[in-house]
Structures are given as C-alpha cells and as structure tokens.
Point group: C2
Chain length 427, copies 2
C-alpha cells in the first residue's frame, strides 16, 4: 500500500505524519514542487521585518528528518503534472509515473497576478513562500527602495505593511473591497484604518489595483486562489467556493483521494456552509484527518468557526465567527454591540481593548466576535471561538467563569461586559 | 417595596445595582459594616507590593455616587446584628430596625484566627480588607520588618509572598495541606514550589501553623470561612460546604431572602455539586442574579467551573475545572496529561508554558485543566473554562479553531498539543 501526498508544507506533511503514526507499514511519498518543505510560512513577514534573523529559523523539519524519523520519503522539486485516478497514478514532468493506493492533495493556494498590468516587473513581489521572502529580502538590501505599494489588505498585506514600515519605507496599501481582512465589517475596518493612519500607512479602500502605480517596490497580497488545476483536470469535484469539495473525512469526490489545506473547502460551523478558509492552523487539522482517513481510520474534521488574528503595526486584530453583514448573508437576524474596556487593571498598565459581539436575534445564539487591542486579544477571541464551536447562547456566554486577577484582566472581563450589553438588545 | 442588602462590596453592590436597573421605584438600602465600600479587594496585595500607589486607586464608587447616580442608599459602619424574617426586619446594634420586603445577604467571608496561638500580636495581619492593607502598609513603613511568615498558600498567601519578596523581605510560606491553591494537584504544587524556591520563598507544605513562629511580620492567609452567623442565627439553611445554600435564583431557604458572594454556595458545573468558591468574579455574577430576582425577575446563575488565576512571583498560575484527584473524588474515572510547549513563536520571545488537562475516561469529556507560564495563561485557561461550561469532549476540544499568528501563539497551540496527547490515552 502506497500513500502519495502532493504538497510538502502544512497540510501535506500533517497528513503524511498522521498516516505514519496510524500505519507503520504504509509506504508514504510526499511530492513537493519547490525546494523547500516544512517551514513556518506565517513567519515570512517577520523575516522581512527583521524579527526573524534568518529564514533557517523558520525551518521545522528537513526531508532527511522525515526519512530517518518517520520513514516518509519526501521529494522536493517534484512537481506533479497530472493525476490519473483510473490508473491510480500521478505523473511527473519528465515522464515518471508514481502509483498510489491512496492520494492526499495538498497543493495549497497561489496568487493570481494576471489582472494587474505591470506585475511582471522585477520590483514586484509576493510574500507567500520561502523563495518569495528570500527574493524580497535581497531586493530590499540591494535596492533600498523607499516607496512601497501593497495590493490587498488581507492579513498578508497588513503584515507586509507592518514589516515595510518597520524597515522605514513609505507604504500605500490598496484594497479592492470596502473592508480590510475580507470580513465585511465596517466597525473593524474603521478601527484598523485609524490605526494605520497613526502608523503612517496610507490605506486606500475600494481601490482595486489593475495597473501597478509608480513605486520602488510592490507586494501583491491580493488575488489568492486555491490551487485546484491538478485536481480539476483529473475530474475531482470543486465546491461553490472554487476550492476542492470534501467530506468531513476530507475525502474528495474520488474514493481514496483526499484533499486538505488551502486547496480545499472547510465547513464553517457557524454559517453551516462549506467555504474556503486558507489558514495554516486549518491546514494542519484538515491534513491530520486526511492522513488518518487515508491510512484507514475514520476520523472527522468538523470544521472551523473562522478564527483569525493579525498584528497590524503592533495592534492585535482578531475575529471569529461571522460579522453582522456576513451573518445577515447567512440568513441570520443579527444584532451587534461594540464596547471599549480596559484589558487589565489600570495599575497593571491596562489599555483600552475593543470588543464587538454579534448574535442572532431569533435564537439568542452568539454568531461572531472581534477583539482589537494590545494585550490579551488572542485569548479573548479564542474564548469566543470556543463558544461558537458549541453554539453558545449569549445568555450563557455572559456567565462564563473567566479567570481574573489584576495582572491579567479586569473583574468584569471586556467579553462579559460586551455580552451583557448584547443581552439588553436581545430581550 | 424595600430591598435591603447586607454587605457593600462585590456581591452586595452588584445586587443593588442590578435591582435598580430592573425596578426604578424600589427603595434600596445597602448596609456595610466597615467604613469602605466598592473597592477592588483583589488589588490589595498589589498595594502592599507597591504596584498600586494609593488605596484610593482601588476605590470604584463612593456612597455618594450610589445615592446620586443609582438612587441607592449606602450606609457604612452599619453592621447588622440580627435578621428577623418573621418581622421582615434587620436589627442594627443601637436598636435601630429596618424593614425589608426583599433581602440580599452578601456578608462575605472572614479569617478564622482562633487556631493560631499568638495571632493576636500586633505584628500579625490579614490582607483581606481595605483596613487590613492600610494597617499592614503602615507597619511595613514604620517597622521595616525583615523576616515574614505567611500562613496559607492559597491565592492571598501566594500574592502576599510575591508582594513581600518585592519589598525585600525574607518569606516563609506555611501551608497546612499537601498542595498549594487548595487544588489537590501534585503536578501544580511541584511547579509552583520549584518557582518559589527560585524566587527564594521558602514553602513548607503539610505544615499547619498552630503557634506563630518567630518573625517580624506575619500574614494569616488561611482559615477563610464564609460569614454565615447572621444567616444561620436567623434560621437560614446552610449547605454541606458550610456556606449558605441557595437555588439557582440565589434564593435561600427563606422566600424573598437571597444570598450571594463569599457567604454562599455556588454550583460547580463540572462536579455537578454545589460548593464554596469565594472569588470576586463569582460574587459579582451571583450578586447580579440575586439583585435581579429580588427585583422580581427570574434570572438564573448557572454556576462556575472553578476558574482561578494567580500571579506567583511573576509566574501566571491558572486552573479551571477539576484536578485529577478532585475528579476522582467527584466520581469520574480521570486521566491526565501534562505537556510543556512554547507559548509563542521562538522569534517572538516564546517561553515555555505548561499545560495539564484532565478528562473522564468513560465519556471522553474534558474535566479540568491548568496552565502555568509567563504569557497567555489567562487566555488559555479561559478557553478550557469555556469548553467546560459546555461539557466538551476532548475529541472536539482538540479541533478548536484557535487564533494563530506568530506574535500571539504557535501553529499548534499548547492547549491543542495537550488535547492530542490526552486523546491518545482515551482511545
């Protein structure tokens, strides 16, 4: 029995490792098209910023480690050209064919540059892969650019903005949509925009970049697409989001073929619909389940609640679940509150933190939340995320037994203050 | 209609304020035996430590504020001597009687000094009230004590140890039981003991203080008891813990008489049994419900999961739910794991954090957890607490969609690493 995994970063290697743990006799081959596997891609902006001194600090495991410790064969620079499921084969460019019994597709995502005229120039970069970061860093050192343009105010665009500001560049950040972070949340966008202004990043909303503006350096952080050509060409079904559709065992429409990570859909546990949520944490979880099921186990990946966090010029910005607009689009009757409160006791340098919670008027169920601040943001959004996993009503949320001591929080935690405000609107 | 509230700190003032919000016409009288109301008692150790510069910084509201803004009459130095429920009256020492239609008892807790010989000396202090802190601080300034003894390694004892070490005193901390924080958790006790040793606090476990050892200063932080004499003398039923028994509307065995805060029991949502959990956050929540129900609403206080956090010489120590020993005593078949992992990416100064999770072998349900570390401790314990509120199985807990970006966490959050380890023992 041979398991072939296409893709050697988060989802692919999680799948391979999990399969090995469950089946010691399986032959496992991972095919990675780039020279680099198993690195912390989320750290790339911090390499550009100077927080990570060398890209090697982001490397987690080497192909040799996988061979020696996990009996997993990892081949780099091995791009798969086609999948032939009838023959249970993947084809490599030079005519090599590799048979599989089980297949995991973890081909990730890619940037679609085509819509931007001028994006083929040498001062235009992405910030998605090891090589992207390597090239960008070399360019920064060699050319000392002063004026940067970033296209896309998703998390990569915002992290790139922080990184380039830290390196002293002028930054103009263009976003095609009306909101940052693709969240449809004017409240959040307003706070982030205000903060960016303070940090002297120019944010231009509703400004799709179709032609590259004059600048010394550009980063394309928009147009992310699931990498599905290989799967689609093989006849594997896609979902409505355009990513590969899977069951909760991460199995595709082809029996024995699994998909995980940024190329595939994930169930959103609040909206109840599958969608495309390309994040490393999700890739690891889904990959793990794909690997387990490829090895014959019957594990499930229930889905996500849509949690994300990003640091924007020092400010923590975290969201989970649905924004009010997203909730309305998902058929709920949403109501929201926003509050500002101290994140800790004042005498422990407590600073303002902003919390927004959204609930469904009909059922009283919590639907989403956002937390913005300097301290404790990740912990608070995780509490909301945990509640969302279990469809907690706001009434119960307001009574959560959260930890309090002055160095850590306030006696009325900002989350509970927001929940009580929300309750007033629900009754 | 008149509501009388006995006690003017956390539970009492929460009750009074909530009753006022629901009923604008109610007459509300709060009787507080000390000269001080509405202050952050949890901040008192930090006043001793020097982090809080003046006790006034801990004051939240004044009696004048309550009179003016909430139409609530707060009388200080008004100790209630007796409750006569047959006459719906409380008696004050000088013969004054005050009629009530509804009564909220929020008499708090007190230290029982009686068992300690020598505790009546002038260098022996508590650290529970405004006056305690005032006296202790004056003593520290005037006498410059060098060798301190603390009796009791609960959170007050541990906070007092940090405060006195910060002031340069030698500290010996005595604990009657085998564990710190009353948690029956040898794992936790070992880590805290090791840390105290590093901070040069001498911890003596299994060492009840029956006679005060030689020292320049002693703090009694053991023997906390619910203040129930007034209620018990009136004939109000107590629970098995010795605190006042209530319904989930916080009503006592006397109709129209409510109790909340450190004098009363609270349901423990994991063990399923009521117990005594004297904490400010719980007091506020229970007080709120007591006030609402006293004003005629039918709100419920579901209970707590037993969350607490304390800073021990710079280290965050947080627990929630049941420890393994507590779980066994509650009739579960517990199994636990302990892991150590980075709390953030290494290049963001990630430090080791320790996580322990306990689950029930029969049902796979998560029963409790502890988190110890320098960063993110409160957020992680709150995630466990939120899961406990909803009886989450470990299998679901392991798939929680927690926020990740390198400045905030690691891609495999320590909580999820622990959950996966625990799953291995459950299957």
């Amino acid at each position: 029995m041979r398991l072939v995994v296409i893709g050697g970063v988060a989802a692919g290697l999680s799948a391979a490792s999990r399969a090995r743990r469950l089946d010691r006799s399986l032959e496992i081959v991972v095919l990675e098209k780039t020279p680099h596997i198993s690195y912390g891609a989320c750290g790339l902006p911090y390499f550009i910023q100077g927080q990570v001194r060398s890209l090697d600090q982001l490397r987690v495991y080497t192909p040799e480690y996988f061979a020696r410790e996990r009996n997993i064969q990892v081949r780099t620079e091995a791009e798969v050209a086609a999948i032939s499921h009838a023959r249970r084969e993947v084809a490599l460019p030079r005519g090599e064919r590799i048979h599989y019994d089980k297949l995991v597709i973890a081909t990730g995502a890619r940037r679609d540059f085509k819509r931007i005229r001028g994006a083929d120039q040498p001062h235009v970069f992405k910030l998605d892969t090891w090589s992207d970061a390597e090239r960008l860093e070399a360019f920064l050192k060699a050319k000392k650019p002063r004026r940067a343009v970033i296209a896309g105010a998703g998390y990569i665009g915002l992290e790139a903005a922080e990184a380039l500001r830290a390196q002293g560049l002028e930054v103009i950040l263009y976003e095609a949509g009306a909101d940052v972070l693709g969240r449809s949340d004017p409240w959040l966008t307003k706070i982030v925009a205000r903060h960016l202004e303070r940090c002297r990043v120019t944010l231009r909303l509703n400004s799709a970049v179709t032609e590259l503006p004059a600048c010394d350096l550009a980063i394309v952080a928009c147009g992310l697409k699931p990498n599905i050509d290989l799967a689609a060409d093989a006849g594997i079904e896609l979902g409505r989001s355009g990513a590969i559709r899977t069951s909760d065992h991460m199995e595709t429409s082809f029996s024995g073929v699994f998909a995980a990570g940024d190329c595939s859909e994930t169930m959103h546990l609040v909206s109840g619909s599958p969608g495309w949520f390309p994040l490393g944490t999700t890739a690891n979880k889904a990959g793990r389940v794909a690997g387990a099921c490829a090895a014959g186990a019957r594990e499930r990946f229930a889905g996500v609640v849509g949690t994300s966090i990003v640091r924007v010029c020092g400010l923590g910005v975290a969201t989970t679940g649905l924004s009010e607009q997203q909730a309305r689009q998902s058929g709920f009757d949403p109501v929201s509150v926003s509050i500002e409160a101290l994140d800790r006791a004042r005498y422990f340098h407590g600073r303002a933190t902003e919390v927004r919670l959204t609930a469904d008027r009909r059922t009283g169920r919590l639907l989403g939340g956002a937390v913005i601040g300097e301290h404790g943001v990740e912990g608070r959004v995780n509490v909301v995320a945990t509640a969302l996993h279990q469809r907690l009503p706001v009434e119960d949320f307001a009574q959560l037994d959260l930890a309090y001591a002055p160095p850590f929080s306030t006696v009325h935690d900002p989350l509970l203050v927001a929940a009580h405000e929300l309750l007033k609107l629900l009754h």
